[in-house]
Symmetry: C2
Subunit: 247 residues, 2 copies
């Protein structure tokens, strides 16, 4: 039985990086592949992936503060890539065309193992979509390659704002034409859920304690009484009564 | 072999009503079903469907002219529904809740028989999405029910404008971050393709001479030298070298 306070839910919106997709493992693997073709042997690609990601929140913060006009995450990724190629001492190894190609690593992230089975279950009963800071091309390319079965895509460029700005959640609610409590935000990040709850949305936390590896300094567990607290997307499907036996 | 002038195409954007979905047949069938449950016997539901649709362009025109602020097509559909229920002498038969439900007929249109096989072929090679005057909820609900395998959805509420306003095509090009000639507009309506071509997009015409039934007064054939002229979406897939044998 679906918990009675969740019986109104009609749409589930997912954070993507870290919640649905394993960016650290994916970027590490793709970096290692490129290094092998180039004969680069002295780079820790897990550290490279974490360093690349470390430019993400500061890059968005400049847009959120108004210090910079609307800028897609792809541009933020690229600017950070140029910095860390220098920092890791391999800038001379990568041409402009290779950097353009490397930046698309973020379009080719692999999902966590539970993501696709869980989403397929949830899709039987709910509208499912990302609500992500990714761009439309990033999110649709990732979904196409990985087989993420979204009903539609909410990207940051649709709102010209980044989570946790309230305008992103309010914009999604407005597009859906639903009441906030009919929409559930799913994320591995407590602050994303807090922002969604502030707008009246339901919340589901997925524990991804390995997302950042040795850089992880938060989100080891739920920090509030979210409506669902789970270890996998499949757990959420089960809680919402979408198990295979019910289909 | 893909024609050489089309080898740059990476994304195909589809008009939906009439091009992918058979609104007239679908609305007629759903109207007949409702009539049977209510014992209404004297309504020509094909005429009802055509009359409902006849409110569509005038309703959008008031928004496009600026006479009315941005208004979703669902609202335009509902206003027209109230008018034609009167015109057909059956307004007393439908409560507010029943009208709300009936307005969702437009969320449950069936595709033409060639649409899903054609889209599945095209999806192997291209990003595919609607570029439709429908709302996000309309288009995503329709796709979910019918199994339209879109990679993402471009809806009029994303642009707060209706085709054939240039801002819709320009907005889509901007979201995709592609060159206009890398995007192909697919439609059964010559004026939609003209507007897309004006922005540099490639064009594919599908002949749907039965879309409007006895109300059809245009679009019996291609009126210009579109890049592809076809009878079905499968034909377009074949022209773009996406036949099953190539998968």
């Amino acid at each position: 039985m679906t918990p009675s306070n969740l019986s109104s839910v009609r749409a589930l919106l997912f954070d993507t990086f870290g919640t649905v997709s394993d960016w650290r493992g994916s970027i590490t693997r793709m970096g290692e592949e490129v290094a092998r073709t180039k004969g680069i042997t002295d780079v820790n690609w897990d550290a490279f992936a974490r360093s690349w990601r470390a430019g993400y929140r500061p890059g968005m913060a400049r847009v959120q503060s108004g210090a910079r006009p609307w800028t897609r995450v792809d541009v933020i990724h690229r600017e950070r890539l140029d910095v860390i190629l220098e920092n890791f001492g391999i800038a001379h190894e990568f041409s402009e065309a290779e950097r353009v190609s490397m930046n698309l690593f973020w379009h080719r992230l692999d999902p966590w193992p539970d993501s696709i089975p869980g989403l397929l279950q949830l899709k039987k009963k709910f509208l499912i979509a990302p609500l992500s800071n990714g761009s439309l091309m990033l999110l649709s390319s990732m979904a196409k390659r990985a087989g993420l079965p979204w009903d539609f895509i909410f990207s940051s460029d649709m709102f010209k704002a980044y989570k946790r700005d309230a305008s992103v959640y309010l914009g999604a609610i407005d597009f859906l034409g639903l009441q906030p409590h009919e929409i559930m935000m799913v994320a591995a990040h407590n602050d994303d859920l807090q922002a969604a709850r502030s707008q009246g949305m339901k919340t589901a936390y997925i524990n991804r304690p390995y997302e950042y590896g040795s850089d992880q300094d938060r989100d080891f567990e739920a920090s509030d009484t979210w409506d669902i607290i789970a270890d996998t997307i499949l757990d959420i499907a089960n809680t919402l009564d979408c198990s295979p036996h019910k289909s």
